[in-house]
């Protein structure tokens, strides 16, 4: 197998683009796709600080690596979810990555804040772990980025993440979520940072391959709480379709984005945001989802957690 660009020995085939690349040409392709996303979707400029949500997994570390190589001013944000050995290994990967490159980062620990990890918190508020985790991560990432004066929050969501999320939203006709599923979410309130997904043009396998080629040491294990997650079911379904018809995921997601842009021009989305009566952060309700969750935790679970500790 030969590189389609320079005819050297190829190391990866990309069936969705009907091409194959050698290591240098693949590396260039990956960086180009990220730059195309940043510039094409006007995600951020070189004068803005970018907070990067880093879990210790391949996507977030690759994103951080590319943004810092491209000369953007970044700050890593890591949330220690308190899931035993998995969280300890994840944090060590983030610390080792940042220290080797002299990159700044901050860690927010759920155990330090709430006295419990995400698994106990989710049990305490009677919610699935991924649902409680999403609320806590979204709230804290925005708040911490804002506190550190970073106007932009970048996450490592890739094409597979976005296509599978789209499939889930379409299967359940989640119109509200469909409206908000975009590579760029503008800061529609002064206390909200702009949220961007610079890896959305790259497939999960392309990102993992780039991480291996660049010798980025990431956590391969999956979050123990994600076992049985619907997202895996949607990804599996899409991978089977992709195997039979390469390019399916790309077409599914990018054609959705084209339709979304056309819809937004006809009737622009005006989110009805106010400030949470409890914490003052932007919310669509009187009390934001995070404060509701913490309130439930304090009422129902914290006495029990304190007995346990």
């Amino acid at each position: 197998m030969r590189c389609r660009k320079c005819s050297a020995k190829a190391i990866i085939r990309l069936p969705r683009h009907n091409t194959a690349f050698c290591t240098p040409c693949f590396s260039e392709y990956v960086t180009d796709q990220v730059q195309r996303a940043i510039k094409g979707d006007r995600m951020f400029g070189h004068t803005e600080g970018v907070a990067v949500a880093v879990s210790g997994g391949k996507d977030s570390l690759v994103l951080w690596e590319i943004l810092s190589r491209l000369g953007y001013r970044t700050l890593g944000l890591h949330i220690d979810l308190g899931i035993g050995e998995y969280s300890q290994i994840s944090q060590r990967k983030v610390e080792a990555f940042a220290q080797a490159r002299n990159l700044p980062f901050v860690v927010h620990s759920l155990r330090e804040t709430h006295g419990a990890g995400i698994t106990e918190i989710a049990e305490g508020v009677h919610r699935p772990p991924c649902s409680a985790c999403g609320v806590i991560k979204r709230y804290n990432m925005n708040a911490i980025a804002s506190q550190h004066g970073m106007p932009v929050l970048a996450t490592g969501h890739n094409l597979d993440d976005e296509a599978s999320r789209l499939l889930g939203n379409v299967l359940h006709w989640q119109d509200d979520y469909l409206d908000k599923q975009s590579p760029v979410l503008p800061n529609s309130h002064p206390k909200l940072v702009r949220k961007v997904k610079p890896l959305y043009r790259l497939a999960e396998r392309e990102i993992a391959a780039w991480a291996v080629l660049q010798k980025i040491d990431y956590i391969v294990d999956e979050c123990p709480n994600s076992v049985g997650s619907k997202m895996f079911v949607y990804k599996d379904a899409l991978n089977r379709l992709e195997n039979a018809a390469p390019g399916t995921k790309h077409q599914f997601y990018f054609q959705f984005l084209d339709r979304q842009k056309a819809r937004a021009q006809v009737s622009p989305l005006e989110p009805n945001l106010r400030e949470c009566a409890s914490c003052g952060q932007p919310s669509t309700a009187e009390i934001c989802s995070y404060c509701k969750l913490v309130g439930t935790l304090q009422r129902e679970a914290e006495p029990a957690l304190k007995v346990l500790t």
Binding site: R13, D160, D161, E204, I207, A208, A209, V212, C223
Partner: protein, 64 residues
């Protein structure tokens, strides 16, 4: 050849030599869902894996 698999961590063995794509077919793994790594090097799907090789089949799918 020795094959190191994840989720859960386990080992498998197949007779070589074989192309990477053939190895994945026999393991019933979709090529788009994994990387195949020999030593620390990524290997392409048309590479030959010998009997004496150890390869890691690393999943690329995460919970998102």
């Amino acid at each position: 050849m020795k094959i190191l698999l994840h989720h859960p961590p386990r080992e498998a063995a197949l007779k070589g030599p074989k192309k990477v794509l053939q190895v994945l077919r026999e393991l019933e793994i979709l090529p788009d869902t994994v990387l195949v790594i020999r030593g620390e090097e990524l290997i392409a799907e048309d590479e030959i894996v010998d009997d004496s090789d150890t390869i890691e089949v690393r999943p690329v799918i995460s919970g998102g």
